[in-house]
Amino acid sequence: MRHLISPQDLSVKELEDLIVLAKDIIANPENYSEKCKGKKLATLFYEPSTRTRLSFEAAMLNLGGSVLGFSSADSSSAAKGESVADTIRVISAYADICAMRHPKEGAPLVASMHSSIPVINAGDGGHNHPTQTLTDLLTISQLKGRLDHLTIGCCGDLKFGRTVHSLINAMSRYEGVKFVLISPEELKIPTYLRTETLDENGIEYKEVRNLEEVMPELDVLYMTRVQRERFFNEEDYIRLKDSFILDNSKMKLGKPDMLVMHPLPRVNEISTEVDNDPRAVYFKQAEYGVYIRMALILTLLEDAKKSKEA
């Protein structure tokens, strides 16, 4: 039975199939409104994440299915000390598929090892968040028309930002993709990502400290938040934070068809004045998150059905 634990679990072909299905859902939503009638999605959220949980729930409801679950560890049997393995064995009897968010890295993998229903990792600590990556890929594919031969700028906290790490890993598999990594020295991408993904696969990239100078090159600008607490001192934070805030003056330097993306929630790294720019697609991106989750739920349920029949 297939699960989705890491973005790397999917081959380029499988990713393509999901994106094609999601695009068909976008074009013909009425064809899918009863596809999951009688099916149940369990949302097992051991830590709060309203956005991701609601996106999963909206996806299942759009497919005509129903949802059940919990939204914090306090309201689950984990508070009584139940293991992830035992919880998933029980949930397997209640639902047909589950989405799990857990503060501990690897928890969804443990669940998948004991589950008789497909498990989707909805975020495990700072580790993986594959459906965010799928959302990002669908957004780029839908709005740029391709996933290859693109220059992707990643800006902000590239050290701790797992969405950026996953995006780099996923996009590295497409031909002609270049990365421009824009961050303060303190928040550069981790060494392992530079050596094991970029250098090892001969991917073209450069690391810069200033957003303005590279704006004209970018096809996609993926923004993340530079958090105050990541800096050793307040002085450095104040000195650097404005360099990584996107506003209309910086937008003027970008290509007319550039996309500005953000995993959300946004705090102040994108000025609200940018929201009306047609190139700002971060709210559209959140909407695509529902469609790709619908495609994923359908695909995994279909696979589970085949596994049971076999």
Partner: protein, 141 residues
Amino acid sequence: MLNISGLTEGYVLDHIKAGECMDIYTYLGLDKLETEVALIKNVKSRKMGIKDIIKIDGAYDLNFNMLGCLDPNITIDVIRDGKIVEKKKPDLPEYVEGIIKCKNPRCITTIEQELVHRFKLTNKEKGTYRCVYCEQSFKKH
């Protein structure tokens, strides 16, 4: 020079990185043995400058797989009747289970005590092992 008597039956773990023989001793569980074990630190070595050596008396069934993930440069001399009958280099197994522990405080293994710690070899040249759950690389210290 310190004189440690020769072995008739047992193992000599040679070419241990200087300063790490205690780690190897602990990971191998040699503290549980009732036979003689000698830990020799900072031995002069032409190849390594200085190195550590462990001598284990008796035919103890060593887990060579474990040694591979701890220090792939170690040499294992098998001693029978006072002679070296075999020199082994530990392999790097694809998976290591229940021996080394993940030290990432954010890993699920920190709260689910019954989970078997499992590592996968992700870079053969560098001997890098990563936890299968959180993907953190294994570091002895």
